[in-house]
């Protein structure tokens, strides 16, 4: 099943993406819990705002990382994991 890049991701209610100075990285905070995001997840997470669709996120990151051909697929994969874990809603 091919991924629809026209979908717009947004964080699930109660899930907050923020930078944590003490952890020197971005985290996802949710009821009583915290997930530390690696660098690429943090870059993607920073662009999730309920407005940009997946295609827009890919386009923006492609500008920064022009020499990464699988970028689009990596981002799709992140979205699928994030949706399966119920961190984001994709509509």
């Amino acid at each position: 099943m091919s991924f629809d890049r026209g979908m717009t991701p947004k964080w699930r209610p109660g899930y907050r993406f923020q930078y944590e100075p003490a952890k020197k990285g971005h985290v996802l905070l949710y009821p009583e819990g915290m997930i530390k995001l690696n660098e690429s997840a943090a870059l993607i997470g920073g662009l999730i705002d309920g407005q940009r669709d997946v295609a827009a996120i890919i386009a923006e990151l492609q500008q920064q990382f022009a020499d990464v051909p699988e970028l689009g697929e990596d981002i799709e994969q992140f979205m699928e994991v994030a949706r399966a874990e119920h961190w984001i809603e994709l509509a």
């Binding site: 209610p13 109660g14 944590e20 119920h86």
Partner: protein, 316 residues
């Protein structure tokens, strides 16, 4: 007692692990509460406790904790809703960048407060339930109207767009109805369901003969929980069921709270800082936030260092 397998002489103890960050701060604002649950973790002598910390004193605790890297903050008690300054505390915590959790019985909650807290920046509300049916719930909570009130508030919490954790303390008298408990939580659209066998501190310790489930009850309850998990996964339902077994049935001791003074810091209503609830019952001195900074308490105090590292362990 089984040996843990250490054959090292004293001088060859593994290096002391670095002290972690107190990522989780639990602010027990008060011991006061309108209910009388038999498994309450309030200390037995809670009526004798000293004065509660003031708003300003709590502001200082929050600031110091945040500076040390605390990210999750729980407002708890007793019943935190009893505090008149709760909106201010929530607002300050949010301003500092904490993810804020209100851990409440729901008694004393109103739609107005739910709305006020949201405006102040509260991230999540957790409501506790004593049972899935009215009679048992009210019997356990010691209040005639508790169940109806909790139900109404759980609906209101979701209606205001909060994520919601429903916490069911399980024990001998409700664990066999775990299917009904889970169904209720799903009907209320809980995001997380904590099915936690009560921890045997405080009043629960006193009452544990009447509370501890049998091994068979627990195994059955866990099986049913797993069946629901599989079903929810298949349906794509985001609700997550968390099942916590009582320590009495485990085979080995666990690194409780991820280890002594490792991740979790609680400040009690009178300002005593503890690495966990159970610590209060130990013959160990713990510092008070009125006298010391949280930095000193976490890194330097005797109480918090008491069981860190390996040196305190006797030879096997």
């Amino acid at each position: 007692m089984q040996s843990t397998g250490s054959n090292w002489p004293d001088s060859n103890l593994p290096p002391k692990p670095e002290v972690g960050l107190p990522l989780w701060l639990l602010a027990e604002l008060t011991y006061r509460c309108p209910l009388q649950c038999p498994y309450c973790s309030n200390p037995l002598d809670f009526a004798q406790q000293g004065q509660e910390l003031s708003t300003e004193q709590w502001f200082k605790v929050l600031r110091e904790a945040r500076e040390m890297g605390a990210a999750q903050l729980g407002f708890s008690g007793g019943e935190p809703l009893v505090r008149q300054d709760l909106v201010e505390l929530i607002a300050e915590a949010r301003r500092l960048g904490f993810y804020t959790n209100l851990i409440t019985s729901g008694i004393g909650l109103t739609e107005q407060k739910i709305s006020d807290f949201k405006q102040a920046g509260l991230d999540h509300i957790q409501i506790s339930f004593q049972a899935s049916d009215e009679q048992v719930n009210n019997l356990l909570a010691g209040s005639k109207k508790a169940f109806a009130q909790k139900l109404e508030m759980a609906r209101a919490v979701k209606a205001h767009g909060y994520p919601m954790v429903l916490n069911f303390v399980t024990h001998r008298h409700n664990i066999d109805r775990i299917d009904r408990i889970i169904e209720l939580c799903l009907a209320l659209e809980a995001d997380f369901v904590e099915l936690a066998t009560c921890q045997f501190y405080g009043w629960a310790q006193l009452n544990r003969q009447g509370l501890l489930p049998t091994r068979e009850q627990l195994q059955r309850a866990e099986r049913i929980t797993n069946e629901y998990r599989a079903r929810l996964q298949a349906e794509g339902n985001p609700c997550k069921l968390i099942f916590v077994t009582p320590d009495y049935y485990e085979e080995r001791p666990k690194a409780c709270m991820n280890g002594w003074g490792s991740l979790f810091l609680t400040v009690t209503p009178d300002g005593t800082a503890l690495p966990c609830h159970g610590a209060r019952q130990l013959p160990v001195q713990f510092p008070n936030v009125r006298d010391h900074s949280l930095q000193h308490i976490w890194y330097d105090s005797f109480g918090f260092n008491r069981f860190r590292g390996y040196e305190w362990m006797p030879e096997p």
